[in-house]
């Protein structure tokens, strides 16, 4: 059992009357990469900054490497933060930016310079040590921000949406570099992002937050395969999951969907007959089949093709999205048959939206 590096117990935070964090409990093992993901205002940044000591909390305990750090100021918590805007010191050269924390601790100039050169190699900044931040590109500045964090060998790395200011191509590349660095250093990282793809591809564990609470936490694929409620199901995965209301049939083994012709679909498991449910269908699990073989028959509204994939939007209420990994010759206005494997059907309680 690996040791716990960070432990948050019953964290609560109020901004005046606004309850920003509600009884958050989270444990982060040493050496893991944990993503905090959720829509704007869910509290993920607040939680991260509370961990750093940059925000106060109204209640609860924060432990880093076993020690309670509630009363400890940020500069003594031995965690490093990579900011969204990089927050580089504009009047210092790259080398000085990197070694500021060392110089504050009294490390000699020579040793500091050596450390800077090592970090420069690790983060791909060689040759840039004597430049000023304003002379660097966005990606280079990002690397300096990371280098500044790494050079301290902190107990944990905290990332606050570090890639939001980069263009798409650079973002994809930096994602890989950040994860690679994390692995190489054997670090413990907490990574805040609003982009669920980043979270899914980078993290060992994903924590989905909404309105100040943790909706679900677990391995990325767990969240994909077994979301705990409608929100997590709709948040993880792109394009987003389709939701259709329905009622469990009298047999208990099928569900009747609220779509034209009330199609009946096999569930592959038992459920309470007559129960009102919300049925979740991922676009990538819906396949187009000949009309005779289909349990669901729907008209097509829009067909979009990227060359290798086909996106189909149906003309129903609610609209359904399908993704096929191939070309298709269906056109708008066609009636198509849709099929889904029973084990890919997600059921949520009609009222509570929790997974059944």
């Amino acid at each position: 059992m690996s040791e716990t590096q960070i432990e948050l117990t019953n964290i609560n935070k109020h901004y005046g009357t606004f309850h920003a964090l509600k009884d958050i409990n989270l444990r982060i093992e040493k050496g893991t990469f944990v993503a905090l993901v959720g829509p704007s205002g869910c509290g993920k940044s607040t939680l991260l900054r509370s961990l750093a000591g940059l925000e106060s909390i109204s209640g609860g305990a924060i432990r880093i490497a076993g020690e309670v750090v509630n009363q400890v100021p940020p500069r003594k918590r031995d965690v490093a933060m990579v900011f969204q805007s990089y927050a580089l010191y504009p009047h210092m050269k790259v080398a000085e930016n990197l070694t500021y924390s060392l110089r504050l601790r009294g490390v000699s100039k020579a040793d500091a310079r050596k450390a800077a050169e090592e970090i420069a190699t690790t983060t791909g900044l060689t040759g840039l040590l004597d430049r000023y931040p304003r002379e660097l590109s966005g990606g280079q500045r990002q690397r300096v921000a990371m280098g500044r964090a790494i050079i301290r060998h902190p107990k944990a790395f905290l990332f606050d949406e570090p890639l939001s200011n980069l263009d798409a191509a650079l973002r994809v590349q930096m994602r890989k570099e950040i994860r690679a660095l994390h692995d190489r250093l054997g670090a413990t990282s907490v990574y805040v992002t609003h982009d669920q793809i980043e979270a899914m591809t980078m993290a060992d564990y994903v924590v989905v937050m909404r309105d100040g609470i943790i909706e679900q936490q677990g391995r990325p694929l767990e969240l994909y395969d077994t979301p705990a409620n409608k929100f997590v199901a709709g948040f993880i995965g792109s394009p987003a999951m389709n939701f259709v209301t329905g009622t469990i049939a009298a047999s208990g083994a099928d569900v009747v969907l609220d779509l034209p012709d009330a199609p009946v679909v096999a569930l592959g498991r038992q459920a309470d007959p007559g129960r009102k449910v919300l049925v979740g269908l991922r676009p990538e699990h819906l396949s187009l089949v000949p009309l005779e073989q289909a349990s669901i028959k729907v008209p097509v509204l829009v067909v979009e093709s990227t060359g290798s994939m086909t996106y189909v939007t149906t003309d129903t209420t609610p609209q359904l999205t399908l993704v096929e990994q191939s070309r298709s010759d269906i056109k708008a206005g066609d009636n198509v048959g849709v099929r889904i494997e029973p084990h890919h059907i997600h059921l949520f309680d009609g009222a509570t939206e929790k997974a059944i």
């Binding site: 500069r75 933060m81 927050a87 580089l88 010191y89 504009p90 601790r105 301290r152």
Partner: protein, 296 residues
């Protein structure tokens, strides 16, 4: 296909683009230039008068009047005034006092603004309001107690007293200015420094001040000029000739040698020359500050 040109008259000299579609440059603009230049000359006329007549000999003035160009350069009026008023010493006094106030005032303003603009301490608004009110009221309402205090502490007739008073007074305005600048200082850079291990003092001097340097220079320059020009308090506090400033010396010149016009001109010239030169050198810094809204 060629379009007929829209201009009827040839373009005025000095234009970059062709005059298609521009109304003919009206001769009105020369009238405006003339008017504005006339007003400028009216404004600068006194300066010219002072320069011209300060280097004139008394005889030349008596014969040709104040509006004539001097027939020969005669610096005797200037020398006379300089010696009579011990102007060199006055210059030194003004410089020392203004410089000291400039430095001390900026320091106090910086410390205040750091606490308010970055530290966001509670009660900042009231503090600022009280500060501003305190310096907007007439200096007459504090001059006598200050006079008395100075006498009681033995600081009367000393430059130190004047320096302390003005460092405090100017810093009220300086605090206000620097606070608004520091309020928009990127918070994340300060947080990054905190996470790197810097305490508040280190953050101020190693991160904030280097970035803030241009603003500090603007504020310091203003403090220098404003202090140089101060009158009431130096008049009251610096009673002996040795300690007086240029502004005070000027104030006391009235009534001396009234019937000697070149003397008066020389006195005026020497009185205005230092700040004039200072302004011309630091014009860039000052107008930058003024445009930002730092006007007293």
């Amino acid at each position: 296909m060629s379009d007929a040109t829209l201009t009827t008259a040839p373009a005025a000299s000095g234009t970059d683009d062709t005059d298609y579609n521009r109304p003919r440059r009206s001769p009105f603009r020369w009238l405006v230039l003339l008017l504005v230049t006339f007003m400028l000359l009216l404004t600068l006329f006194p300066f010219l008068l002072a320069i011209v007549n300060a280097i004139k000999s008394g005889v030349d003035y008596a014969r040709n009047g104040p509006l004539s160009i001097p027939t020969s350069l005669d610096f005797s009026a200037l020398v006379y005034f300089w010696n009579l008023s011990d102007f060199g010493r006055k210059l030194a006094n003004s410089t020392i006092i203004s410089l000291a106030v400039s430095l001390l005032g900026v320091l106090i303003s910086l410390l205040n603004a750091y606490a308010i603009g970055i530290g966001r301490v509670k009660g900042s608004r009231i503090f600022l309001v009280v500060l501003l009110l305190g310096i907007m009221v007439p200096q007459e309402s504090i001059v006598y107690p200050l006079y008395y205090m100075a006498k009681a502490t033995g600081l009367y007739d000393s430059q130190l007293a004047v320096i302390i008073v003005f460092a405090v007074l100017q810093s009220a305005f300086g605090t206000y200015l620097l606070t608004s600048v520091l309020r928009s200082f990127p918070k994340e850079i300060i947080e990054a420094a905190e996470m790197d291990g810097a305490n508040r003092w280190q953050v101020l001097w190693q991160v904030v001040v280097p970035v803030l340097r241009p603003s500090l220079m603007v504020v310091g320059t203003f403090f220098f000029i404003w202090t140089w020009n101060e009158f009431l308090i130096p008049l009251v506090m610096l009673v002996s000739n040795n300690n007086q400033t240029v502004a005070v010396a000027m104030g006391l010149t009235r009534g001396q040698n009234m019937s000697d016009p070149t003397f008066q001109a020389a006195a005026s010239l020497l009185g205005i020359a230092p700040t004039l030169i200072f302004f011309l050198i630091f014009q860039r810094t000052l107008t930058r500050g003024v445009v930002v809204g730092a006007v007293k």
